[in-house]
């Protein structure tokens, strides 16, 4: 299968703290990959580096979008990364709270629209059609994610689980080929987590996107992922299939502490 994201030697230093230490990672087409590790391991920092929020200290990052040339995304601004087809959600929910659910998704469509100031003021045919299309497209995305009942609600009034799913819907609206989910199940109950599990598989199958997710819920990780990368103190300590990771003594040790003898 074709590799769509290659990260090589990614290093991120915050002053003296080495949050990421020479991480290599790759994702193939339609693959679900999990990035796990104890708290403070550097997982979110990894997302921030590839999405352009932090410029990495060292390392290379390449994407090969389906049907397009391989290119480096190092040094791109966050919005350019998104335009190139990487979309993400946030660990601490970052919805536009005072906008409606529909509007949140419409913001996601922003980078796939083109009308400018003149269009906004003159409200010519092309603009009106584009706006109408965006409303419909956004609604269809909400239907897929199972949020259509909330379409006209303000984001802040949504239950927690629905807010997490709205973040996914918003990210999908940018038409990504790779979806980066930062702890999508955090704060969800068992039923919601199970629904999320199904949702992620469904997104992969229907949209044909690859998914890289950070998650602490091991049950979800083991059932979803094709491959797992484990980081601890900024270093990659293991990678492989779920069954291999489950048995890996280094991973067990990282999770349960130094004193534990496997």
């Amino acid at each position: 299968m074709k590799t769509i994201l290659e990260v090589k030697n990614l290093t991120m230093n915050f002053g003296g703290l080495c949050a990421l230490d020479r991480i290599d990672l790759d994702i193939s087409e339609r693959e679900i990959v999990a990035l796990i590790g104890p708290n403070g391991a550097g997982k979110t920092t990894f997302f921030n580096c590839i999405t352009g929020i932090f410029p990495p200290t060292e390392g290379e990052m390449f994407i090969s979008p389906p049907g397009k040339q391989r290119k480096s995304i190092k040094g791109l601004k966050p919005n350019q990364v998104t335009e190139n087809g990487l979309a993400r959600t946030f660990q601490n929910i970052r919805l536009f709270q005072n906008m409606t659910v529909l509007e949140n998704v419409m913001i996601g469509r922003h980078c796939r629209m083109s009308s400018g100031i003149a269009g906004a003021v003159l409200r010519n045919r092309a603009t009106v059609e584009e706006e109408e299309a965006v409303v419909e497209e956004s609604y269809i995305i909400l239907q897929k994610i199972g949020l259509s009942e909330y379409v006209n609600e303000f984001a802040k009034n949504l239950p927690y689980g629905a807010q997490r799913r709205l973040e996914i819907a918003r990210a999908l609206a940018t038409e990504p080929f790779l979806l980066l989910l930062d702890e999508p199940a955090a704060g969800m109950n068992l039923r919601e987590t199970k629904e999320l599990d199904e949702l992620i598989v469904r997104i992969r199958d229907s949209e044909g996107v690859s998914i890289l997710l950070i998650e602490h819920d091991m049950k979800l990780v083991m059932s979803l992922s094709d491959r797992i990368f484990v980081v601890d103190y900024g270093k990659k300590i293991a990678q492989g299939k779920p069954e291999e990771i489950q048995k890996n003594p280094v991973v067990i040790k990282a999770y349960l502490g130094e004193d534990f003898d496997a």
Binding site: T51, I53, K77, P78, N79, T82, E83, A87, R88, F90, R94, L95, F96, Q97, N98, M99, T100, L102, E103, M106, I107, G108, H110, C111, R112, M113, S115, G116, I117, G119, A120, V121, R123, T127, E130, E131, E132, V134, V135, E136, S138, Y139, V151, N152, R170, A171, A173, T174
Partner: protein, 411 residues
């Protein structure tokens, strides 16, 4: 019920007020007779007045707190104010609007030149407020140097007319373009700053422009300013003073309507949405593919465009400009208009401008207490209606079925 502790509290409040106002309300030095007047009656008035007002204040405060609790408990509709109910009901606001339209049309024919002039000034501030509203209210960028772009517009007409005899109608778009140009020029370096830092830098920029105008005599004629700026002509008609004033007034009405139209359309567009999202959460916004710098710059430049345009009108209206018209105070007033009226709300800003500009004019009767009342109104407003007179209830995009028919409700 009024309880004893409340009376005690009010008593101390009134004591405190008497102490505070003692130097201005009681003592008056009469320099001619070289005597000090003691106006003890005023002290009594302040004491009793503040004692009673403190009860009113407490009552309003309690009501506000109760309202807030209700809202937190989930009674959403409780937040709807009197204005919003009126504005949501076409049956009520349509006749109201028609009434206002007729009043506006008849205004210069009913009232004196003086009144018409004041109204024109108020409309100038309505436009400035709406322009700044794009920057502060919609995009959330605190700009304290807005008046600089206003100055750019005014001086571009004055100077172009002085040197090249350019007419008002040609200067209007040029002033707007120059405003935009300066907006972009300033915006590029400063828009990476946030909140208070941006405020400080724009404040500095506003002062720099004013100081340049004040000191660069060869260019701007310094503090003595530029006089004899022609009023706008219209199809070659020579206006009398009365006619010119009336024409200026109607010109401002048209420009204001144009501004309301444009701002409304911008608000409900792809760019307007991006501004609001940017105000909500910058990082999420960028992660959604919105170019932060470009979007902010658009807002900043558009705001500046409006200031430039209004500047040209201002120069034409007063026929004389000098740097004293473009002090920080002006920026603050315009900002007050936006904040007091209701950030992001077009009707709110219109109201805010009318209140803030007309109030001091009509308070002239109270001469020395004018600014005191003005300040008190501002403080009371901000305590009891922090969202502004008519806080912004944004039109939200609503989905009404997959037919492509989209309806927008709200105000």
């Amino acid at each position: 019920m009024i309880t004893l502790p409340e009376i005690k509290k009010s008593f101390f409040v009134s004591l405190w007020f008497m102490f505070l106002t003692f130097p201005i309300m009681v003592v008056r030095v009469n320099p001619i007779e070289k005597a000090v007047e003691w106006r003890w009656k005023n002290l009594l008035l302040v004491g009793v007045g503040s004692f009673l007002l403190s009860f009113v204040w407490r009552y309003l405060f309690k009501r506000k707190e109760a309202g807030k609790k209700k809202e937190e408990a989930g009674y959403d509709s409780g937040a709807k104010s009197f204005f919003h109910i009126i504005l949501a009901e076409p049956k009520i606001y349509k006749p109201f609007l028609i009434g206002i339209a007729f009043f506006a049309l008849a205004f210069p024919f009913i009232f004196s030149i003086y009144q018409t002039n004041i109204m024109t000034t108020a409309l100038i501030y309505v436009m400035l407020g709406l322009g700044l509203n794009i920057v502060v209210g919609l995009a959330g960028l605190l700009d304290l140097g807005y008046v600089a772009f206003y100055a750019v517009g005014a001086y571009s007409y004055a100077l172009l007319n002085y040197h090249f005899g350019l007419s008002f109608w040609l200067a209007l778009p040029i002033g707007a373009a120059l405003g935009a140009f300066f907006g972009i020029l300033l915006g590029f370096p400063v828009l990476r700053l946030r909140g208070d830092y941006l405020a400080i830098v724009t404040l500095g920029f506003g002062e720099i422009i004013r100081i340049i105008l004040e000191n660069w005599n060869e260019f701007s004629f310094g503090p003595s300013g530029i006089a004899n700026i022609p009023r706008p002509g219209f199809l070659g008609i020579e206006f009398s003073l009365q006619g010119a004033t009336t024409f200026m007034y109607f010109l401002m009405i048209v420009l204001t309507l144009f501004t309301v139209f444009v701002v409304n359309r911008l608000q409900n567009s792809r760019i307007g949405r991006a501004w609001i999202a940017l105000r909500e959460d910058e990082i999420a916004c960028q992660a959604m593919g919105i170019d932060k710098t470009k979007t902010k710059l658009t807002a900043f430049a558009l705001g500046a465009t409006w200031a430039g345009m209004v500047g040209v009108v201002f120069a034409a209206k007063t026929t004389f400009i000098n740097p004293a018209s473009f002090t920080v105070w002006e920026s603050i007033i315009i900002l007050c208009i936006v904040v007091l009226g209701g950030m992001g709300s077009v009707i709110g800003v219109v109201f805010g401008a009318l209140i803030l500009i007309l109030l001091p004019e009509y308070l002239r009767a109270f001469s020395e207490y004018r600014m005191l009342i003005f300040g008190a109104v501002l403080i009371i407003m901000m305590v009891f209606r922090p969202g502004g007179v008519i806080s912004s209830v944004r039109r939200t995009y609503r989905f009404e079925g997959l037919t492509g028919k989209r309806d927008k409700t709200g105000i």
